[in-house]
Symmetry: C2
Subunit: 333 residues, 2 copies
DNA sequence: GGCACAATGCTCAGAATGAGCATATATGAG
DNA sequence: CTCATATATGCTCATTCTGAGCATTGTGCC
């Protein structure tokens, strides 16, 4: 162990002291009926109102890669085939993870998985939840969320309560950047930054025992809490996914084999939390060659029947980076 | 530990069995004289030609977050102030990390750090290397890298040698996607995918002992090897950085306090490995308001003196996502 | 002065974007 | 049957963005 503590050492990447407890957390996402859903489980022994968490488990060392371990684990537990899987982030904050695992430093490696809608086989302990139940300020599809009035007021109070002018200025800047308070624009990708800001401002019940202060908000305003730091993980996932759909055709992992363009649009809107201009959305999808027509059309629903399309897998080989640009329509927001 | 192995359990994220060995690896990047450089260290006891590695070390549990731990560790060792720091990826492949750490599953959490050029204080064990020494096919600034002829031939042979037609087809698709072989475009962000493809094709010496086959290439073709899987980490970093500079003003972390637009362009080109159209680059920087003029100009060098500019920090608060679009100029490629 | 070399200003055609109008074809109420 | 309603789909148009290139302006150097 030469210079392991001291020099700018390179030990074998694996041969290190201080073993740590490592876990996996999964954000498993589906989109059903135009709503974005995450798979949650009930965690016994948590404080009231905080029993809902993300599927999490130990690192299983049998598998050659972390991702394959995760796949096997999830697929075995849920009979749910995972499509797209992506590593999200490794969380290792001392004071945000719940407990401390008997002196071991604890890490959790978070993954994002996209699955096709699964109606059958409800899991015994797991259930799907609209992810905006946990982060209600993120859903702008029906216009500016009402909860933001309350949140803004409390955040402004928090900024005003800073100990000195410099910190106050910094806080105000952050309010502008994340929540668009004070003339800034709402950037739908900054999900994590918004959550973290609320956390710091003491508006998130999960922060209890952190700063010690009582939480100044109710669930209606700041959404349903989750176990440990799982809401943070969820926020990370949403932010990442909102970014990704702009330049990679990942939404199709959430769609059934055939679908209409409007269903596709609804799904993109569900993920991004904003409404899109319909005609331009179709033009985009057409231009990029993302889908090909089938010879079927929908029937039964109101309105003119729509043509069913399917994802053109070939685009994965063609364009440099196919995806959607998300320009919110002015109309409905 | 109810259901820890069995159910779809959520234990405390930290309270998990199977402790693992966790390390940190850092890709520390600077840009000096228009060349992209990474900080490397010499690792004793490695096979000849593979003594060069990235700075790596144990996870230090004293710090509240991983990132702060990394900062403290690097800044202490190098007297080098880190500007931008970002978590890259957590590598946990069983068979790619070097050794196995006595039965512990080993992970390494990789970080990317950007630093301002540092000429003074050469570190005792560390040195800066042009990162294209390790990945020579990634540098298109002087036109298509010569090494690609050799690489293409070998990759095509690898694809042709597939056991059945289906696998061959898949391999050919990947050649097109990553290296643009067969009519595809070169996407400068796919650094990792290209490296991994070469690895799988047996063209990377680090793969030795992996598939067992001798390596079919020399350093001139496939670049300088590194310790363990560090070249993979470097490739991850380059790909990520190339993506990031397009939508975030991170290049400025690599620039001195004042600089000319051309120096900025050279830096962006160094990172992205492609040349840009000069006038359009200036237009872009001007439009985005990324810099503000100083009243100084350069002197001494050949050519008309250039105005020195500095980064406008305010943009961090203004635009939704300032950065560069990288459209390679046709002229010089 | 004349040359090499950058910096800087400006133009222009084509593509991409944001917005909206118009029309087609369903369902369901009355 | 007809109308209201809801969606699907085609098309236009002004604006902005992009990629490319021409022209001019300063400097150091021989």
């Amino acid at each position: 162990m030469t210079r392991a503590q001291d020099g700018f050492a390179v030990e074998a990447t694996g041969a290190l002291p201080n073993p740590s407890a490592v876990g996996l957390v999964a954000v498993i996402v589906a989109a059903t009926d135009g709503e974005p859903r995450a798979l949650t489980v009930r965690v016994p022994g948590q404080a009231t109102g905080r029993e809902t968490g993300l599927p999490a488990g130990p690192l299983v060392p049998e598998h050659p890669t972390l991702e394959r371990g995760l796949r096997a684990w999830v697929e075995r537990q849920t009979q749910q085939r995972l499509g797209y899987v992506e590593q999200l982030y490794t969380f290792g904050d001392r004071d945000r993870q719940g407990d401390d695992s008997g002196g071991l430093h604890s890490l959790s490696v978070a993954y994002l998985a996209l699955v096709r809608e699964m109606r059958s086989a409800a899991l015994p302990e797991a259930s799907w939840h609209n992810w905006y139940a946990f982060l209600p300020w993120e859903d702008w599809r029906a216009g500016r969320p009402a909860t933001l009035d309350d949140i803004e007021a409390k955040l402004l109070a928090w900024a005003a309560g800073a100990v000195d002018a410099k910190i106050r200025r910094r806080r105000e800047d952050r309010l502008g950047l994340t929540f668009g308070i004070g003339g800034g624009a709402w950037n739908e990708e900054r999900v994590l930054e918004r959550y973290e800001l609320l956390f710091e401002a003491g508006l998130i019940p999960e922060a209890q025992g952190q700063s010690g202060e009582a939480c100044a908000t109710d669930i209606a305003t700041t959404g349903r809490p989750m176990t440990f730091d799982h809401r943070r993980v969820l926020a990370t996932a949403i932010g990442r996914l909102r970014g990704k759909i702009k330049y990679r055709p990942v939404v199709f992992e959430l769609m059934p084999p055939t679908f209409t363009l409007f269903q596709l649009q609804r799904t993109v809107e569900a993920l991004s939390g904003a409404n899109l201009h319909k005609q331009n959305f179709r033009r985009l999808v057409a231009q990029q060659g993302l889908v090909e027509e089938t010879d079927e059309v929908t029937s039964g629903a109101a309105g003119r029947p729509a043509r069913l399309v399917r994802f053109r897998r070939e685009v994965l080989l063609e364009r440099p980076a196919p995806g959607f640009r998300l320009t919110p329509s002015r109309r409905s927001s």
